[in-house]
């Protein structure tokens, strides 16, 4: 663990992510103002001591909105990464180890990969309505094939190892072989991939919010804050600046972290991505 932290990218990325994540996690504690409370008298105020990031067109506190919006963004990033990794790992392991289903599964994955996540999300939201669930599902679905391919590739090489054959001859069941002998080899690569998926999910969610196809506007998210701020950009640039800066920082932080982890945990991947 100490060795991993010695990598400058890991350390820098981790610092950025923690700085961004802590306020979002403790949003109610760090901002006492209700992010949805409107105050017509306080409209379009530049940053000040009482409103650190200023106020927006409805007089809502931008700092509070950004902090609460961060919760949404990070929640989406984390859930998308977690769900796609878990599902992808199961499908990938099955596909790599059980040769019969491999061809079929991989063709389905090829099909999924052809769907752009943004379009799928817009379609799902227009059919089923905007909710956190539909957004998460829409972003997760096209990410799964990436995980499946990675896991399957590793499983295909590891299953040829003599120690796996030794386990077969020792009468170990298929599930136990996958769990004990094969899947531990995928962990390092999956941690790295999870960071990339998380970062891109945060971005996709923001894009959806910006396009008005994301989570409903009552819940602040960086995407819909930026979308609303767009119209008043010239008179109140701070409304646009702060959520955008946060978005850039968190994605940068996660990506730097991911790069560092990739270099320390899984040198094999360094050239592929």
């Amino acid at each position: 663990m100490k060795k991993i932290l010695d990598n400058p990218s890991v350390a820098l990325g981790l610092v950025i992510v923690v700085i961004m994540a802590v306020p979002a996690l403790f949003a109610p504690l760090v901002s006492s103002i209700d992010p949805t409370a409107m105050a017509p008298m306080e409209r379009i105020k530049p940053p000040s001591a009482s409103h650190w990031f200023g106020t927006d067109l409805f007089g809502r506190d931008v700092y509070s909105r950004v902090v609460h919006g961060g919760r949404t963004s990070l929640l989406v990033g984390l859930t998308v990464a977690a769900i796609s990794i878990v599902i992808g790992m199961v499908i990938g392991a099955a596909s790599g180890y059980i040769r019969v289903i491999d061809a079929v599964v991989m063709r389905i994955m090829d099909g999924l990969m052809a769907i752009p996540s943004l379009l799928l999300a817009i379609a799902m939201v227009s059919v089923g309505g905007a909710s956190l669930t539909s957004v998460v599902v829409a972003i997760t679905l096209p990410e799964i094939p990436r995980v499946v391919r990675l896991v399957r590739g590793i499983v295909l090489t590891i299953r040829e190892e003599a120690y796996v054959e030794a386990a077969v001859t020792a009468g170990t069941s298929t599930v136990a072989i996958l769990w004990r002998h094969i899947l531990p080899n995928t962990i390092a690569a999956l941690i790295v991939l999870a960071s990339y998926i998380g970062a891109s999910a945060v971005l996709t969610e923001a894009s959806l919010g910006f396009l008005g196809a994301g989570i409903s506007p009552e819940i602040p998210s960086w995407g819909n804050i930026i979308a609303e701020a767009r119209v008043s950009f010239q008179i109140a640039p701070w409304i646009l600046f702060f959520p955008s800066a946060c978005l850039v920082l968190i994605v940068l932080g996660v990506n730097v972290l991911g790069d560092g982890l990739r270099d320390t945990l899984d040198p094999r991947l360094a050239k592929k991505m």
Binding site: A162, A166, A167, T169, A170, G171, R180
Partner: protein
């Protein structure tokens, strides 16, 4: 003794003179220096064999000569004089000029040493394009000349083939041809025959001897195989842990070794004469295989079907307490036989009977129960233990699959560790903390933990150094006696087979061409192929026992 017949090397200034070479290892390695105070010299027309086990520093010495040491390895002392020029102080440009033109190297693995997307001819020509300004026609002529010099048939054709279209031996000859293209003064051969079959190895060794006779080249030949040394060396340098422990004329070192390490190295070499074994009472048959066949089917790029008969109507029996050796060259199907018996692959016909159960046709359930009775030890000790699990976990996995309580399985693992001469407390350690030989012992313990009736040993000593090899074979012999175990012993090395097997089956192209008791087959082989295999064993005219006998006198 064929050593005395060898042409005496021409005297004169040595081509290569290494004096007191010391190369430092990076911090945290098991010793401070990779090689320390190594001095040796080679004259023109001389073959010097550099012998030692893995980690002895023999390859590092040769890499230092070629200027190919990796960055962490720093030569900190001594000099390497190549035709009186100190290579350690030469500029990188100068070294590049020398490499390929005046000194060249051939490697162990001919498949990876050749570029797969260049034809054999182009690879040889590359040396000429880099170092000379020959015209295209001259280059082509020279390429054909050197291809002919390494006894490859049809040079015009070989020149246009890609590496994957050549066999291992042919590829190694192309490597030699490329190395010889500019008539280098020094040729370094780093285990050039280790990855090859015995018959191919014999051809390559013959070619190297011919080169020595027809060119003025000095050859530094690195090997771990004393048999190969006996076959081609003029002089021998023995290395251990980075130091030269003994050097001298090949005949003297082999027949009258002075240093205890050399003596041990030579006495570990199994001889081709089968050991005599007391006639044991005939035990019941443990494994009987009848009409076994396996066909690999592949579809080629244009859709035509390809069929390879890996095993063709193979049958044999192994009795309890006996060892049946299956010998053959690569591609003979011997490993496929082992894998079929283990049901790691399904066979396409035949019966594999173990205790009345036909493994070939057993249902999943029956197979699961039968797995207990047949266990395997694999070739590569570095890959056959899960690096993320302690050796204890690896050993108890099998018994626990069959319902042995954890405490009991652990007790059994401790007993087995003692049996294979390892510390029982080492069970909680991870595989990387053990050497290759120790890992192979652990694998044997893992197999025995299942209390099997049949042990399949697939090339279990071929990745090990010769002294370790001897110990593992010794252990296997003890186990066979103690547990009345039937052993199916797969090997390519006839010397190893002679040492451990009661009976031998010789496989060639998927068929058993000859089978019988070890002493019979080695004394009077009937099949043509068996004879050629035996004739190809390196150093067959020299035997370790005779050598040591003379040394002890």
């Amino acid at each position: 003794m064929n050593l005395s017949e060898k042409t005496r090397p021409a005297s004169g200034a040595p081509v290569l003179d290494i004096r007191n070479l010391t190369v430092r290892l990076p911090k945290g390695a098991d010793r401070e220096h990779a090689v320390e105070g190594v001095s040796l010299s080679i004259a023109a027309r001389e073959i010097l064999c550099l012998v030692g086990e893995s980690g002895s520093g023999k390859s590092i010495t040769s890499f230092a000569v070629m200027g190919l040491l990796s960055k962490e390895l720093v030569p900190v002392g001594g000099e390497i004089l190549f035709q009186r020029e100190d290579l350690l102080r030469a500029s990188p440009e100068r070294l590049r000029q020398l490499r390929g033109s005046r000194m060249s190297m051939i490697f162990q693995e001919p498949m990876t040493a050749l570029n797969p997307v260049m034809t054999a001819g182009r690879q040889i020509e590359e040396v000429l394009t880099t170092h000379t300004d020959m015209s295209r026609d001259q280059r082509t002529r020279r390429v054909l000349e050197v291809i002919r010099a390494v006894s490859l048939p049809d040079p015009e054709l070989i020149r246009r083939l890609y590496p994957h279209q050549l066999s291992g031996g042919q590829r190694q000859r192309v490597m030699i041809a490329a190395a010889l293209a500019l008539e280098p003064k020094l040729l370094i051969a780093d285990e050039p025959t280790t990855a090859l079959d015995v018959t191919t190895q014999a051809q390559i060794l013959r070619i190297l001897k011919e080169i020595q006779g027809s060119h003025d080249t000095a050859i530094l030949f690195i090997t771990h195989d004393i048999g190969v040394v006996a076959e081609i060396a003029d002089r021998v340098v023995v290395m251990q842990s980075g130091r030269v422990v003994e050097q001298g004329d090949a005949g003297r070192v082999l027949d009258a070794p002075e240093h205890p390490y050399t003596k041990m190295l030579i006495s570990s070499v199994p001889s081709l004469t089968p050991g005599t074994r007391a006639e044991a009472p005939v035990k019941p048959v443990a494994l009987s295989v009848e009409g076994l066949s396996k066909i690999y089917r592949g579809t080629s790029f244009f859709g035509s079907k390809r069929e390879v008969r890996a095993i063709d109507d193979v049958g044999f029996t192994v009795r309890g307490g006996r060892v049946l050796g299956v010998v053959g060259e690569s591609g003979s199907g011997k490993t496929s036989v082992a894998r079929c018996v283990m049901r790691l692959i399904d066979c396409d016909g035949g019966r594999i009977r173990l205790d009345g159960v036909d493994l070939a046709a057993a249902s999943k359930r029956r197979l699961h129960d039968a797995r207990k009775d047949v266990q395997m030890v694999f070739q590569d000790p570095y890959r056959s233990l899960n690096p993320r699990r302690t050796v204890g976990q690896s050993i108890i996995e099998g018994p626990m699959n069959f319902g042995v309580p954890k405490r009991e399985a652990w007790e059994r693992a401790r007993r087995l560790m003692t049996l294979v001469s390892l510390d029982p407390d080492a069970l909680s350690r991870y595989p990387h903390q053990f050497s290759g030989g120790q890992r192979q012992r652990i694998c044997i313990a893992r197999a025995l933990a299942m209390e099997p009736r049949l042990l399949v040993a697939d090339e279990i000593v071929s990745a090990l150094d010769v002294t370790v090899q001897a110990q593992v074979l010794e252990l296997l012999n003890g186990i066979r006696e103690k547990f009345d175990l039937a052993i199916l012993f797969i090997t390519h090395d006839l010397r190893v087979a002679a040492k451990v097997c009661d009976e031998v089956a010789v496989m060639h192209r998927g068929r058993i061409v000859e089978m019988g008791s070890t002493s019979e087959i080695f004394a009077s082989p009937k099949h043509e192929y068996t004879r050629s295999l035996l004739a190809a064993v390196p150093g067959r005219t020299w035997s370790a026992e005779a050598g040591l006998g003379a040394g002890g006198a």
